[in-house]
């Protein structure tokens, strides 16, 4: 028997303790920095956070003992830090008289739901390959979910984007769940049709175009979701889905030509959007010359304030409670990184980017060692979602690329995003558990009676 992965659950526990120290420590620091005292509810809060993390850890020990040991601590640290930052913003919003100042409390509730779904996913889904059966179901569900915000009563436009539904007082972004379902659908379809997509077809110029009947369904799925997103005026998600689709298609077919086609399509799409959609044109101009549009409406005020804040934060930041994150609109969601930059400095921003980098690295590593094509594709898809989402939102906030709205995974306030991302992590852990689990030994049951007629018995460990 060759190389066997170790379980490494002890390592995970140790890293989780560090992650909890980050989360609870940050929460205590917020109290000290803003109010001058350790928060009164620190024990209750810390206890709750610890309970959630321990529950997640125990679940992994029971049902996914070979799962990757680094993912859960990374997510716990980011989620904990995000809660502390939201708490810090709440205190300021409360002081200046904003109506909404319970983001941290709501986020903790959503995190609880996220962890519950995380546990449920791991318990119920013992083998990720069973999802392959749901290829078309999940594709269809994703499209229905994306369409929900258009349904009159439950759909509510917020800030110019039709991506929200409101049911029984709860706001929800169905797109966040749809992206996970789309990964499942793409993986399921591509793993079946990858050979056909890669090999059968005609050669046009320098690309092997697959046959229409192979590419059709996936293209339809992709096209419908893109159109819905464009109609919803949700640039960030469109970009995310496009990148996701391209990455999975490339990995499945192993044809670099798709990257060329995708790149050209992206350039054409971006150019068309720039030409015909005034909003896109504005975003592009604000990105190129943020300082020129500072005082205009619509203008780059939010972006410039974020840049002022992060510049002011410098290397080590102003310290929690000593900045002015309330000057940046939506500091609790898309722009949470600017709050972190302002008060915790470049050091913290780098640490966060590295955490995300590690999550993506673990996801792709899982894809590499996964033994089945479906798992590989799913891991690549889920990793790409995190990578693209982080790049689009942090790049936008720091002025690297034009700003498009997306939440920062695990940090930003937003229930749907948080819950969906916890499920993403559960799926990744499930795939990695399968991949790292020792292969079933193929032992002949009885050497003496062995002949070509005998059915081999697989002996599970």
């Amino acid at each position: 028997m060759g190389f066997v992965h170790r379980r490494r659950r002890g390592a995970e526990l140790f890293l989780l303790v560090l992650a909890l120290a980050v989360g609870i420590g940050a929460y205590a620091a917020v109290g000290l920095g803003v109010e001058g005292t350790v928060p009164a509810d620190l024990v209750g809060y810390g206890g709750w956070l610890t309970a959630l993390i321990v529950a997640a850890h125990v679940t992994v020990r029971i049902v996914a003992p070979y799962a990757d040991p680094v993912l859960l601590p990374l997510v716990a640290a980011l989620n904990g830090l995000g809660l502390a930052i939201l708490r810090r913003l709440d205190l300021t919003y409360e002081a200046i008289g904003n109506d909404d100042h319970t983001f941290a409390r709501q986020q903790l509730t959503w995190m609880t739901l996220g962890v519950v779904l995380f546990i449920a996913t791991l318990f119920l889904l013992r083998d990720h390959r069973s999802l392959q059966r749901l290829t078309y179901t999940s594709g269809l569900t994703a499209i229905v979910l994306l369409l929900l915000p258009f349904v009159p009563v439950i759909g509510v436009p917020i800030n110019g984007a039709n991506i929200w539904i409101r049911v029984a007082g709860f706001s929800f972004q169905p797109g966040e769940v749809a992206k996970v379902l789309l990964v499942v659908a793409f993986s399921g379809y591509l793993v079946l049709h990858r050979d056909a997509l890669a090999l059968a077809g005609r050669r046009v110029v320098f690309i092997d175009l697959p046959r229409g009947r192979d590419l059709g369904p996936i293209l339809a799925m992709f096209g419908v979701s893109m159109m819905i997103l464009v109609a919803q005026n949700d640039l960030g998600s469109s970009l995310l889905f496009f990148g996701l689709f391209l990455a999975m298609l490339y990995v499945a077919t192993e044809r670099p030509g798709w990257l060329v086609v995708g790149g050209l399509l992206f350039a054409a799409g971006a150019l068309a959007a720039y030409t015909f959609v005034p909003n896109v044109q504005n975003r592009f101009n604000f990105w190129l010359h943020p300082m020129d549009y500072y005082e205009e409406t619509p203008g780059s005020g939010q972006l410039v304030e974020a840049m002022f804040g992060m510049g002011w934060g410098g290397l080590i930041g102003r310290g929690l409670g000593n900045g002015f994150p309330e000057r940046v609109p939506f500091a609790y969601s898309d722009f949470i990184v600017s709050t972190i930059g302002e008060e915790l400095g470049l050091t913290a921003v780098m640490a966060i980017v590295l955490c995300y980098g590690l999550i993506v690295e673990r996801a792709l590593r899982i894809a590499l060692i996964s033994r089945d094509g479906f798992g590989k594709l799913m891991a690549v898809g889920l990793g790409s979602i995190v990578a693209l989402q982080v790049f689009v939102v942090i790049g936008g906030v720091t002025g690297l690329i034009p700003l498009t709205g997306l939440t920062t995974p695990f940090l930003s306030y937003g229930g749907s995003s948080l819950v969906a991302n916890w499920v993403v992590i559960a799926l990744l852990l499930r795939i990695s558990d399968q991949a790292r689990r020792p292969t079933p030994r193929l032992d002949p049951v009885d050497d003496a009676g062995a002949d070509s007629e005998t059915t081999q018995v697989v002996k599970l460990k």
């Binding site: 000290l32 920095g33 002081a95 200046i96 990455a247 490339y250 990995v251 499945a252 192993e254 670099p256 300082m291 500072y294 005082e295 410039v304 840049m307 002022f308 804040g309 992060m310 510049g311 002011w312 934060g313 410098g314 290397l315 310290g319 000593n322 900045g323 002015f324 000057r327 930059g341 400095g345 470049l346 921003v349 780098m350 980017v353 590295l354 995300y356 980098g357 993506v360 690295e361 792709l364 894809a367 590499l368 094509g373 590989k376 594709l377 690549v380 990793g383 790409s384 990578a387 982080v390 790049f391 942090i394 790049g395 720091t398 002025g399 690297l400």
Partner: protein, 486 residues
């Protein structure tokens, strides 16, 4: 499928590296230029909401920050606003003046000398506090100067400066009319902007610190400079006989100048001392004419004309002695007319130089810079900026000025039991405005502790009564008495 996964990994690595590099560029490389953007309200608000240090005179904080309930956390208050406004200046959200501006780094806590304090604040997570600034001002002298200006009849404009001759310390600096810095410190920014506009448009110019910011012809007080130039030339002393008489014919011109009282100064030939005592125009016109532009300008510049010397308070105007004057102008400059202009501070420096054996000391208002815990971080050292004359010349001039106070035009400055040196001045402006009244003096003459210059720019006193001695003399006297004490 592993090869494309590796490609995707490398691509993701590039994305994350780009994020890291861009974050570093934004938050480290560009941080300074972002801070300097005038629209960056964070920088302004942070400085504004900090516990700013106090401005101290003796043990009293004339400007300090007290906690306030609003989002700016602290309110700047001035305990004696009008009296000290020319020194403190104001501290508004968008701008500062006076010591609030010149010492802003210290008061706000950003000064490098406060580095250790800042480090401790950072580590202990307490809000940074600003350092304190101790002024050189003598509270009693400032009280006397302000009371003197306030008691001037009518709607007077004037200024008083008192210096310590041996060091250049500013012992008093008052100006009227002035403003209430408390109004500028208000957190109601609209009201502050309106106030600023109103005061800027006020013809009485209340925002100007007349002690250092207004230049006017120094009139007869400039005769000190003319006399210094004459004695320094080596041809004269206090007892030398100089031209007197009732009129002086300007060179290259048909104009004749008379003495201010129309008299003949006591004869056609009088001593220099007598000329000073009666403030004889004829004498000093002819002396300036004889010495020439070059010698006069050199002497004036040694006293500090044509340059600025005050480094720790903004708004000093340059006192001027132009070098390109023709012969009649030069002659007129001998009595402080034509193009010669001076600030009250400059004339106080002239008096102080004579009192200090000819050494001109750099005037300064900041005595000590203190950390928030009151430990002294820095103390200003007196600094000599030039040697205006030999000590012999200074002694001769002192003798003449003592005589002027004992039995001359400057008798209002007499202090019983003390030898006071002084000189009046009355400068002409246009016919429809009253003349400016000047008074410079120092005391005690044998060991000078204080040199004073008083300017009364405009007052409703009858024209005939504006002999400098009557308006400025009592103020100068009160300030000198306040410094010397009983």
């Amino acid at each position: 499928m592993n090869k494309p996964i590796r490609v995707v990994s490398v691509f993701c690595l590039v994305l994350f590296l780009a994020l890291l590099v861009n974050a570093t560029y934004l938050m480290y490389v560009r941080a300074d230029s972002l801070s300097e953007d005038p629209r960056n309200r964070r920088i302004i608000t942070a400085a504004y909401s900090r516990e700013r240090g106090a401005i101290l005179v003796g043990k009293e904080a004339i400007a300090r920050s007290v906690p306030s309930d609003d989002k700016y956390k602290f309110q700047r208050t001035y305990s004696e606003p009008f009296k000290y406004a020319p020194l403190t200046g104001y501290f508004a959200f968008f701008s500062q003046t006076g010591v609030e501006r010149s010492q802003n780094e210290v008061l706000s806590g950003d000064d490098s000398r406060l580095f250790v304090t800042r480090l401790v604040d950072l580590l202990s997570n307490t809000d940074p506090k600003g350092g304190n600034v101790l002024l050189t001002v003598n509270a009693a002298a400032q009280d006397a100067a302000w009371a003197g200006l306030e008691n001037l009849p009518g709607d007077a404009q004037g200024a008083v400066v008192a210096l310590e001759p041996s060091t250049g310390r500013v012992l008093a600096m008052a100006s009227t009319p002035t403003f209430d810095p408390n109004d500028f410190a208000s957190h109601d920014f609209t009201a502050v902007r309106d106030l600023d506009q109103t005061l800027n448009n006020d013809p009485r110019e209340p925002l100007i610190n007349r002690a250092i910011g207004t230049t006017l012809p120094p009139g007869s007080t400039f005769k000190l400079v003319t006399a210094a130039a004459a004695i320094e030339s080596g041809n004269y002393d206090a007892d030398s006989m100089v031209p007197g008489g009732s009129r002086f014919q300007l060179p290259e011109s048909t104009t004749t100048i008379r003495n201010h009282d129309g008299g003949d100064c006591g004869g056609r030939r009088i001593t220099l001392t007598q000329a000073m005592q009666v403030s004889c125009n004829v004498t000093f016109l002819s002396l300036a004419n004889e010495l020439g532009t070059e010698a006069m300008a050199d002497q004036a510049e040694k006293f500090g004309f044509n340059s600025t010397s005050l480094e720790d308070l903004g708004g000093q105007a340059r006192s001027l002695y132009p070098r390109d004057m023709d012969a009649p102008q030069t002659a007129m400059s001998g009595i402080g007319q034509s193009s010669v202009t001076a600030t009250p501070l400059q004339m106080a420096m002239v008096a102080a130089a004579i009192a200090n054996d000819g050494d001109v000391m750099r005037p300064y208002v900041v005595d000590e810079v203190r950390a928030p815990n009151l430990s002294v971080l820095d103390r200003t050292d007196p600094q000599s900026i030039s040697k205006a004359m030999s000590s012999t010349t200074a002694d001769e001039l002192t003798k003449m000025l003592v005589a002027t106070v004992e039995s001359g035009t400057a008798t209002p400055a007499q202090i019983p039991g003390l030898e006071v040196a002084g000189k009046t001045g009355t400068a002409q402006s246009t016919d429809d405005r009253p003349p400016y009244a000047w008074f410079v003096s120092f005391a005690p003459a044998d060991d000078p502790k204080v040199a004073v210059a008083v300017l009364v720019q405009s007052s409703e006193t009858a024209r005939a009564e504006i002999a400098g001695g009557l308006l400025g003399g009592p103020i100068a006297k009160a300030v000198m008495e306040a410094v010397i004490g009983p």
